[in-house]
Symmetry: C2
Subunit: 316 residues, 2 copies
């Protein structure tokens, strides 16, 4: 893979801005483009906050000057061509609409170097679809982060039908060298991996509340005082390994029967406007009980603490 | 509710021992019974380790004498009757078999005070079934913890058909005053709440690996570097609230469509011996890569750190 000095951020909403902060912090020059109104100003403000998170994660207290130096390496461009024309790596964060992606990728691939990897942050679309009308589609990959990307290490990578293996491996190595935790997905499935896992939990969380089993608050209490605490430490496989002193297989022999019974009791669940309204009212009640509380700020503070703890204990 | 001074622990395996440590630490006298061989010795050893966790959670460094004093209040009884006859609260952790539970509850309820609450740690059985042949079944509730109970705050409470509301409320207040995070479940569903949520995630985690989408290691990386980090902070409802700057309803309008597509793509999945074998081999590969590592010790260390962080940030 060629040496990356300049990263282009295409689409500078919440996800794009978070990626921009991450790449700046890792020492890259960043060129950015977004056609939205006030995009430049919003980007600068967001990146400034996200950079602070990153300094705090590394326990650097006196970061004012360093932050200003990094912000000097952020260039907002007047148009897409200027942003991508000499970029060594492109992180794309456009809207989740295939028609928009198709024209965006066409314009990007006609104007950036032929061997520049383009990684899409798309959470829903398939690379095989996105790359259809691109020049040199072999270097287009999924580079799907988890929100907020400047803090959460996960990046999901997969190629489309026209992507070649070397670019997938290059993208994997690139993210890993920057300290991310990339995984390579081997089959294109809807929602990739983490969103499928997450939405499986959401479905049952919605079903239980919708059917009066418990409140939205109860669901959140159950997760954050039960299994959620363990999922920040180990994933489903290592947790199953620990569910029995003899390890995974014995745990599965004990738990498999009951689990299949629970699965059999999980009824199909569909969202519609009425359902969303009902769940929103449940959430509103919970929020009212919480009262004044900076949910997002505290979340990011907590994320930084958990990430530091994971590093300290060298968790796998 | 009557004042609780003495708690009986019936069944002193891993869960029972963890409960015993918790109640001792909270100042109760604990009488315990289990018919298994070496039960008394195993209990003492486990309680001793778990007490250390609790002292560490409260950042008490010099705890040797205090621990010995607490251990003096643990009484292993020769038979069930002695353990429960003057107990003010009973935490039952017997095997998950209805026939065994029925005779156990019959003997307990014939020999303990009539208004002593009996809380079952059962993860699979319904209270309505357990309480069938009990004397004064109105005081029998579910008090389902999450492993390890001495550290994880969640307790799921529900009554059976014959349980009266006052005992459910008393159990809730009792656990809450001890610093637990109890929730009251309003309908008896298989697996209660947290196990259903957890098993929904496990199902998709098994499905994806079984179908070659990614490895067991990838699943665990995805969770512990993505959504799992957030679930230790907020549950599914508050995370959805933060998924859009305008809050829950707008987030659902954006994510609802894609989520329903992912749900539609989640195929029924069944476990059998072949599947368990396949998943076990996947897990074994992951474990081999991790190498020498005290999984359980590190998990509990990490749990203590996350719980302290949650307290410090006063997370809801």
């Amino acid at each position: 893979m060629k040496q990356v000095k300049k990263v282009a951020i295409v689409g500078t909403g919440v996800i794009g801005a978070s990626w921009a902060a991450f790449y700046l912090y890792k020492g890259f020059s960043v060129s950015a483009f977004d056609p939205a109104e006030n995009a430049q100003e919003n980007l600068k403000n967001r990146v400034s906050i996200y950079l602070q998170d990153l300094f705090e994660l590394d326990q650097i207290a006196d970061f004012k000057q360093a932050r200003n130096d990094l912000l000097d390496k952020l260039h907002f461009c007047e148009n897409l061509v200027d942003a991508v024309k000499d970029a060594d790596f492109i992180q794309e964060n456009g809207p989740e609409r295939l028609d928009l992606k198709l024209s965006l990728y066409q314009e990007m691939t006609e104007n950036c170097p032929v061997n520049t990897i383009i990684a899409s942050s798309s959470s829903g679309l398939k690379v095989s679809d996105i790359q259809q009308s691109s020049k040199h589609p072999e270097r287009i990959v999924l580079g799907h982060p988890f929100n907020p990307p400047h803090l959460l290490p996960l990046v999901e990578i997969i190629g489309g039908e026209k992507t070649t293996q070397n670019y997938i491996q290059d993208a994997f190595d690139f993210y890993r060298e920057l300290g991310k935790k990339p995984i390579i997905i081997h089959k294109e499935v809807k929602g990739h991996v983490a969103n499928r896992l997450q939405s499986a939990l959401w479905r049952e969380a919605f079903y239980l509340v919708s059917n009066g089993v418990c409140s939205a608050e109860d669901i959140d209490i159950a997760i954050t005082n039960g299994p959620g605490l363990r999922w920040a430490i180990y994933g489903p496989y290592l947790n199953m390994q620990l569910a029995n002193q003899k390890g995974f297989k014995t745990a599965m022999h004990h738990l498999g029967g009951p689990m299949m019974e629970w699965w059999g009791d999980m009824h199909p669940y569909q969202l519609d406007e009425n359902e969303i309204e009902k769940l929103d009212q449940e959430t509103a009640q919970f929020l009212e009980k919480i009262g004044e509380f900076d949910l997002q700020g505290k979340r990011d503070e907590a994320l930084i603490e958990i990430l530091s703890m994971r590093k300290k204990l060298q968790l796998p």
